[in-house]
């Protein structure tokens, strides 16, 4: 029998706990497939923050450290400085990275820390039940913006990749999604190049995934994808925001 499809070796056999229609699982598979493709499984250490993505420490089949809410880039810095020969990546939610962990994220990028950060932006705090995040859209209802986010009260959504582009230490920055097969391919390219930037020692790399949270959005999986396409895609600058010249085809 010819094998047409196999689960990547980069993921363990622990079943994903994610809600139906949540794109966290697809994002982890994309990252895992690239880790395997680049033959990094035996020299990678992953780091999670806290949030639904925190469970990924059970799923990625590589050495892993579970850090505190927001602190993964600092932990990753410690690992990478201790073992510069290793490949180190972080996996964080938008609350984790863009709110409580903003300082660690920006400074890791500013130092040009040779790590790769993955930011899964679902425009709310998934794990704690759908509260407002810095990425929540204007007018979006969450359990702590029950009448919709108002800019007078809570300011405006933060697009972290767009911010980090201005830092010399950031080598590769992209925002992608995994809503369609075509976008999954684009996401894989971004993940590949983000790791390449690290392997070549060019500096900090970041890939933001625009992601769904059907449970807290109160939408079914299909409607969630449509809501994300309609509302989130226009808000966050998509594509490669910063790419080394040598990576361009």
């Amino acid at each position: 029998m010819r094998v047409l499809f196999e689960k990547t070796q980069a993921l363990t056999d622990v079943p994903f706990h994610y809600c139906p229609g949540c794109t966290h699982g697809i994002v982890q598979r994309v990252i895992g497939e690239i880790l395997e493709e680049l033959q990094l499984l035996e020299k990678t250490v992953g780091v999670t923050g806290v949030g639904c993505g925190g469970f990924s420490e059970q799923y990625f089949n590589v050495d892993f450290q579970g850090s505190a809410h927001g602190r993964a880039p600092a932990v990753a810095t410690g690992i990478k400085r201790a073992h510069p020969e290793l490949i180190v990546f972080t996996y964080q939610g938008d609350g984790d990275m863009v709110s409580i962990g903003m300082a660690e994220a920006i400074h890791a990028a500013a130092r040009g820390e040779k790590i790769t950060a993955f930011l899964v932006n679902n425009s709310n705090y998934g794990m704690t039940g759908g509260q407002m995040a810095p990425t929540t859209l204007i007018g979006q209802k969450t359990s702590t913006s029950p009448y919709g986010r108002q800019s007078e009260e809570s300011g405006y959504p933060v697009d972290l990749p767009a911010l980090l582009c201005n830092l010399k230490g950031a080598a590769y920055v992209a925002t992608v999604s995994v809503d369609t097969p075509a976008n999954v391919l684009k996401a894989k390219r971004a993940v590949r190049l983000a790791f390449k930037a690290q392997i070549e020692g060019l500096g900090f790399s970041l890939v933001q995934f625009l992601s769904t949270c059907p449970t807290n959005w109160g939408l079914n999986p299909v409607d969630s994808i449509e809501w994300m396409q309609e509302h989130m895609f226009p808000e966050f600058q998509m594509g490669e925001l910063k790419c080394p010249e040598t990576f361009r085809r």
Binding site: Q65, G66, G78, L86
Partner: protein, 354 residues
């Protein structure tokens, strides 16, 4: 034996490097700053790695990452900076990550001042962060001990897989004394649990995430047993002129140095008094106190705080003799004559004991 004339903070940093400290992460704060400056000047030149972090929060998590990857790593700070590290210390204790952390105390609460104090005793020995955990806490009283105890701290950290804190005050950090490093050597420990890339082995996972109460209890019992073992094995105090002592002074750090002068002064007047100086503050040397219980008539605890270690002393002697207290605060150091006067008032003139 070659001796160098160094500041306490510098001796501590040099001791760490000689004990094999490979990485230093930190944020500047007086009165600990000489440590970060010494590391910046020397560590990378001697094959290590130095990073100035954006905050103490980041520093402790960098320490977390490097410790989890199996390297000898250290940070240092003072009061408020140590407060910012508490979440990370709890995480490190939970994950049993070995590292050395230094608190050159400054006065608090709040921004406080830069003078010598011992106001962080509770924070250091009673947890400080959330959850049921302990740091091992060592308290030097000389520049030589700033170096020696730091080297020991790395071995204790690796041996017990637990963060170890050096708790010192600004006098010890800033003063200069001759110091020798000849007895400091690198000891290496196997760390099969470290995340170093899963080459040819099962992957290693360092995590304190635990949503199942049953496994939570197993983990808690494991830590409890470890702390019990440390309490039994690490009972560490200096007994100074205590053999025939009818009274004991109890003090650590700079307060203990002053108390040695008090012992001499009182003995010159014929009083049989000695000093018990806890070197490990956690675990507290309770067993050392036991051996004095039946012949000591009174204890005088001297601290640069409103009274923190005195609680552990009281627990250790179980109300078997009066315990009195002398203290200065806010950056003021207790003076020898003041302590002598307090001693005479309480124990010889039959005054009030607390």
């Amino acid at each position: 034996m070659e001796k160098l004339f160094m500041k306490g903070n510098e001796a501590l940093a040099e001791g760490a490097i000689r004990a094999g400290c490979q990485l230093y992460f930190g944020y500047p704060i007086t009165p600990s700053t000489e440590i970060i400056e010494y590391m910046a000047a020397h560590l990378s030149k001697r094959g290590g790695t130095f990073v100035q972090s954006e905050s103490e929060v980041a520093a402790i998590y960098m320490v977390f990452g490097a410790a989890g990857s199996g390297q000898r790593v250290m940070t240092a700070s003072s009061g408020l900076g140590i407060s910012l590290m508490q979440e990370g210390l709890s995480y490190m204790a939970a994950n049993e990550l070995p590292a050395v952390l230094v608190d050159i105390m400054r006065t608090g609460p709040g921004l406080g001042g830069l003078g010598p104090t011992q106001g962080d005793y509770f924070q250091a020995t009673k947890g400080g962060g959330h959850g049921d955990y302990h740091l091992i806490v060592l308290a030097p009283d000389s520049v030589q001990e700033m170096a020696d105890l730091t080297a020991t701290a790395f071995d204790l950290a690796d041996g017990y897989r637990n963060p170890v804190m050096i708790l010192a005050d600004a006098v010890l950090g800033q003063m200069m004394e001759p110091v020798s490093f000849e007895n400091i050597h690198v000891h290496t420990y196997e760390k099969p649990w470290a995340t170093t890339g899963a080459k040819g082995r099962q992957r290693n996972l360092i995590t304190s995430y635990n949503l199942q109460n049953e496994t939570g209890e197993i983990k808690a019992i494991h830590l409890e047993h470890k702390y019990q073992a440390i309490q039994e094995q690490l009972q560490w105090a200096e007994s100074y002129q205590t053999e025939d002592a009818e009274y004991l002074l109890v003090a650590y750090g700079t307060s203990a140095r002053v108390c040695k002068g008090v012992v001499h002064a009182l003995r010159a007047t014929g009083v049989k008094v000695g000093l018990l100086r806890p070197i490990a503050l956690w675990p507290f040397p309770t067993q050392v106190f036991q051996s004095y219980l039946d012949h000591v008539k009174g204890y005088l605890v001297v601290e640069m705080s409103a009274g923190q270690m005195i609680e552990d002393v009281r627990l250790a002697i179980q109300h078997q003799a009066p315990v009195s207290f002398y203290h200065r605060q806010g950056g003021m150091v207790p003076q020898q004559e003041e302590i002598v006067a307090q001693f005479n008032r309480v124990f010889l003139e039959g005054g009030h004991t607390s």
